[in-house]
Symmetry: C2
Subunit: 343 residues, 2 copies
DNA sequence: TTCGGACAGACAAACGATTGCGCTTTTTGG
DNA sequence: CCAAAAAGCGCAATCGTTTGTCTGTCCGAA
């Protein structure tokens, strides 16, 4: 019933003007100490809280950042948003979030909702099959700064945070070479994915550094379904030079690949060793965990993306001033091989 | 530069009043067809979008629901928020989210932020150690409807959605009995947790239905750490009547328990069978997965919680009218045993 | 011809807070 | 003691939209 007390209410009770109350609450120098304390006391008594929606409206700022992710129930993204929220909260920003479920249409819808909500900025990891970038252009026109992360669109003039898979892959292959493996297979993802190209690049790099020649038949690709992975495994295991170790595109692929190997009577991690890329926090609890995996630090990526966005927001740049050469912030983290201490 | 076009701008260009434009855009009957189309056309041309912050302010409604969860990177909660966001989106509501990290202080802070943001309603799963409920009372005073889920405070006059563990536990124990087990152990959680009491209740119920006597020494409790679980296992395995099957409090506990069993040369799922409660989506990929687990449907819980909240919001009840007996909505889902087809 | 109503649209207040400017009162310095 | 500066506060506009009420016009019927 006693609907939230407003600044006017306080003004009325104290027989002063609303502007005075506002300034008093903000400790404005032009307000006398007497009235200042009177106001602040009454405000405390009434449990006054400024109506943020009014302020948002007036200030054209919502202290809210939007986050658009493909799928929250994927461990990678839930870790990422966890990092985003932590960092945002630390700077008194709130997080409005939406999941695209990897559908372009939903992604566009969410972008539009976020725009309507007047979020101050956006952090986006794009849907798998998003080909049309018109909604991102709308954002630019609307002057809403956007930072992409992990899954970034194929554009140059954008801010983004990503994790470079090359370094981690190099480490992974080196590790296997160090363990004596000479024939190392790789189950890669679809060629068009940047992530796939980086993995292959890392593979080749590591081989070259060890003065070993790169055998392309050892790198096969899976469409990431179980069937695709099975096919890939068949290919690898029917080679004359059969691999003694395999680098899998991710934990899901590794899981399927291991299963295939087991079915075909391979002794996993004895005659066939697996290394993977971390998606599942618990993958080292599995029956035959990869001996090592490349970590992509989703939580940290989320944090860095948020930091980047906040920098842009507080540098109150006039939205479109791509004049400066370092205008487009590109943060690249190095992936890192984590060796599991198998007991 | 051409900052977002407003209703005023349209009015100016068409030499009509802002109110007319507003009504025209809302297809109000008292506006002539001529002007209506003129307005709508110009609006489309200018790419006009209503300023939601202004509307939120004016309508005292934000079409935003707040979600407070302990930890987004826990699979259970990320599945839940996924359900929440899907259902909210379906009704044009946005989701503002925050994680308490199981800390009472952060929880209170987030509640206050959400209140400031004037969310229309809240969905909360409380932090583990929240003992003081004053922040929830503030919400009630502020007239913000709140639906609790899964982790609910010990209060009667609240809305909540939860999953009853009794039924699932009964099914689990029955299943084991059906498989011929007669001595069934249980590693339960801390006694004070409702979740623990429900599990014990289910255990007893199932025993009684099978006219078997309930042996309290077979139900031990763990503090959910690895050490606690090890201790619990020791207790169980040193009984004269040694259990041939164990119901573990959750997948994490099961993981630790299995590890303990393996170290002590038990043949898991042969001389010692495990059943658990689902937390980890991938737990059936583990080395010795539980033969069955009790599912708590986090995604559905999230959905139902959102539905419940939306009902309250649209029934535009005067916030505090606990007059009606069914005012406090209590939705209880049944947990369900999922039997893993071990190949 | 005149009156009652429909119909189309304009006016203005309101939502709650911020802020530039101007007005009074006090204080200060010469 | 007086002018000028400083201090303390009020006025009013503003942000963009909605909505109750009022005005004006035109038509048909009495």
């Amino acid at each position: 019933m006693p609907s939230a007390p407003t600044i006017k209410e306080i003004a009325r009770r104290l027989n002063i003007s609303a502007s005075t109350v506002s300034r008093a609450l903000h400790d404005h120098p032009s307000i006398g100490l007497r009235t200042k304390t009177r106001v602040q006391q009454l405000a405390a008594e009434l449990n006054y809280e400024p109506n943020q929606t009014a302020i948002f409206f007036q200030q054209r700022k919502t202290f809210t950042i939007g986050v658009i992710l493909p799928e929250l129930s994927e461990a990678f993204f839930s870790a990422a948003i966890s990092g985003i929220e932590d960092m945002a909260g630390r700077h008194q920003y709130s997080v409005l979030m939406g999941q695209s479920h990897d559908e372009e249409e939903r992604e566009k819808l969410i972008v539009s909702t976020m725009k309507k909500h007047r979020v101050d900025g956006l952090i986006i990891s794009i849907a798998k099959n998003t080909k049309d970038y018109s909604h991102f252009n709308m954002l630019r026109q609307a002057g809403i700064p956007t930072v992409f992360f992990d899954r970034i669109p194929n554009l140059t003039d954008i801010h983004y945070v990503a994790c470079d898979m090359v370094s981690g892959t190099v480490q992974a292959v080196k590790y296997l070479l160090g363990k004596g493996h000479r024939v190392i297979g790789m189950i890669n993802g679809p060629d068009k994915l940047l992530a796939s190209r980086q993995r292959e690049e890392g593979y080749i790099k590591a081989m070259q550094k060890h003065r070993l020649k790169y055998d392309p038949t050892l790198v096969v690709s899976s469409d990431l379904t179980k069937e695709g992975t099975d096919k890939a495994m068949k290919k690898l295991l029917s080679l004359k030079r059969k691999p003694t170790a395999i680098v899998a595109f991710n934990d899901y692929v590794a899981l399927d690949a291991v299963q295939f190997a087991v079915k075909n009577k391979y002794k996993v991690n004895e005659d066939l060793t697996f290394v993977s890329y971390a998606n599942l926090p618990m993958s080292h609890y599995t029956a035959f965990p990869p001996v090592a995996s490349v970590e992509q630090f989703p939580y940290i990526q989320g944090q860095r993306a948020t930091e980047t966005l906040l920098e842009i927001l507080t540098s109150n740049a006039p939205a479109d001033s791509p004049a400066s050469p370092d205008h487009w912030k590109k943060v690249i983290l190095e992936s890192q091989l984590m060796i599991h201490n198998v007991e």
